[in-house]
């Protein structure tokens, strides 16, 4: 059972999601921040810039760069020199970082970056979906998705602790839905400085760039050696599965707040229908579930917090008694007509004894509102799947036929 959340209402303040993230980053005592403004991430780096100007982040360098490519490239050197490094971006900015993402991960630099998830161009859209981060799936970054502003704030400290662990040393993307979380004002408990100093140890890597003791990082590897480097990266990802759970529990012990480890479950105990999703849509789904449970519809939620590493075992365990699984994806792999969470959930259950029908819905592209009645309609269709089997395996949701 998930521990009960103990949020101290006296400590709560109403702040914007971006401020919560910037504040959490400040509290984690970063040494180098390098970022380039892009909607809807801009408020995060503006707030951090203000903290710097006010002298509130000691022992930290804030680097103004000319692009996202440079933002992340600057952190390659800084992190290798032993600095705790932070950046934030979204959408086209994240796609421009693509090459550097591989370098950071390959050099095993535990950079933490907030992604204010946004659709990708063209057509240009500044609104939320998950296509930007999902498209960076194979770059060797951990990807954690938050449900609300309290979680994204707290997840920032968790990400530093997971990434900087000597058994892991892999970078993290902490993902929050653009606008829906980044620009919303909610009452939350800001990350506490005293507790964070207790929770998050200083970053002390074994090897650093230092002129007094010269080392090469990310050195050339010919075909005799390259495979083993990839193997070590995958091994670190596998170890991070347990680390993410451990850190979520340690966080609970120190702060009293918990949102799940790799996954979280909501009313799944006797659920026939289990909905899977990531990000802010979780809150809406929980409301729908409460409503439908009152009508005796046995529906539950499987919230996926970690998309990379992919928690295949935890998901399989959570789905073992379900009669139908519905996966909601704010992304699409064009040419497969499926979202990534759907594809990967299906694939992780193949070659197992679990034979449960799974249907996928691609939803909320480019920030289209996902309303309660739309989720109810999806659950209605899932009940049909239980009776008659799968008719459509994966489909677009809320498609406006009149525009086509």
């Amino acid at each position: 059972m998930a521990p009960e959340n103990k949020i101290d209402k006296k400590k709560m303040v109403v702040v914007e999601g971006s401020y919560a993230v910037a504040h959490a980053t400040k509290v984690c005592r970063p040494n180098v921040i390098s970022a380039y403004p892009i909607t809807p991430q801009t408020h995060i780096v503006e707030d951090l810039s203000q903290f710097m100007a006010d002298g509130e982040i000691p022992n930290c360098e804030y680097i103004n760069v000319e692009s996202e490519f440079s933002a992340l490239s600057a952190l390659v050197g800084a992190s290798a020199a032993g600095a705790r490094c932070y950046s934030a971006t979204t959408s086209q900015g994240l796609e421009l970082m693509h090459e550097v993402l591989f370098n950071i991960s390959g050099m095993r630099l535990p950079v933490v970056m907030t992604i204010a998830n946004r659709a990708v161009s063209a057509p240009i859209s500044i609104w939320n979906d998950h296509q930007d981060a999902i498209s960076q799936r194979d770059t060797g970054w951990l990807q954690l998705y938050a449900e609300n502003t309290q979680e994204i704030s707290d997840m920032t400290a968790q990400a530093f602790k997971i990434s900087e662990d000597k058994d892991i040393l892999m970078p993290s993307m902490v993902c929050m839905d653009g606008f829906i979380l980044s620009h919303v004002y909610e009452p939350i408990v800001l990350l506490e400085q005293d507790l964070t100093d207790e929770f998050l140890p200083a970053f002390e890597p074994d090897y650093i760039l230092d002129p007094k003791n010269p080392m090469s990082f990310g050195a050339f590897a010919d075909p005799n050696y390259y495979t083993e480097f990839r193997y070590l990266q995958e091994q670190a990802m596998q170890k991070s599965l347990k680390k993410i759970e451990d850190v979520a529990n340690e966080f609970y012990d120190v702060y009293g707040r918990y949102y799940g480890g790799l996954i979280d479950e909501y009313r799944t105990d006797d659920a026939d229908i289990i909905i899977m999703a990531m990000g802010s849509i979780i809150g809406t789904i929980k409301d729908v579930i409460d409503k439908l449970r009152d009508r005796n519809v046995k529906v539950g939620l499987l919230k996926v917090r970690s998309f990379r590493p992919f928690p295949a075992a935890a998901i399989k365990n959570a789905l073992k008694d379900a009669k139908v699984v519905v996966v909601l994806d704010k992304n699409i792999s064009l040419g497969l007509n499926e979202g990534a969470l759907f594809t990967e959930t299906k694939s992780s259950l193949y070659n197992t004894k679990l034979d449960v029908p799974i249907v996928g819905y691609m939803i909320g592209h480019g920030g289209r509102d996902i309303k309660v009645d739309l989720i109810e309609k999806i659950i209605d269709e899932a009940q049909d799947v239980m009776k008659t089997g799968i008719k459509i395996e994966s489909q677009f949701t809320d498609l406006k036929e009149e525009l086509l």
């Binding site: 050099m107 080392m215 090469s216 990310g218 050339f220 480097f229 070590l232 670190a236």
Partner: protein, 86 residues
């Protein structure tokens, strides 16, 4: 030898990884023409031109990749690029 995560390694490891085999043409000195001006030593991008006791220079064929900068820049045409043969 064990690899370290992230491809971290101590400096100077390229000494072990001999790259002379990449060469197609190799530079050869004509010491009759050489005036010991050191331009070849200065311009070699691979530090493969080493001084000898007599003030002249010799090539380190373990690492010279045959780029030909030395031959191109030599003011006395004292370096010839010769096709490598097996």
């Amino acid at each position: 030898m064990k690899i370290l995560p992230g491809g971290v390694c101590k400096a100077g490891t390229t000494r072990v990884n001999k790259t002379g085999g990449w060469r197609t043409f190799k530079p050869v000195y004509d010491y009759e023409k050489c005036i010991k001006c050191k331009l070849c030593e200065l311009l070699c991008p691979d530090s493969s031109v080493n001084p000898k006791d007599d003030g002249f220079f010799e090539f380190d064929y373990d690492f010279c990749k045959g780029c030909g900068i030395c031959a191109n820049e030599c003011p006395k045409d004292a370096i010839t690029m010769v096709l490598e043969e097996k």
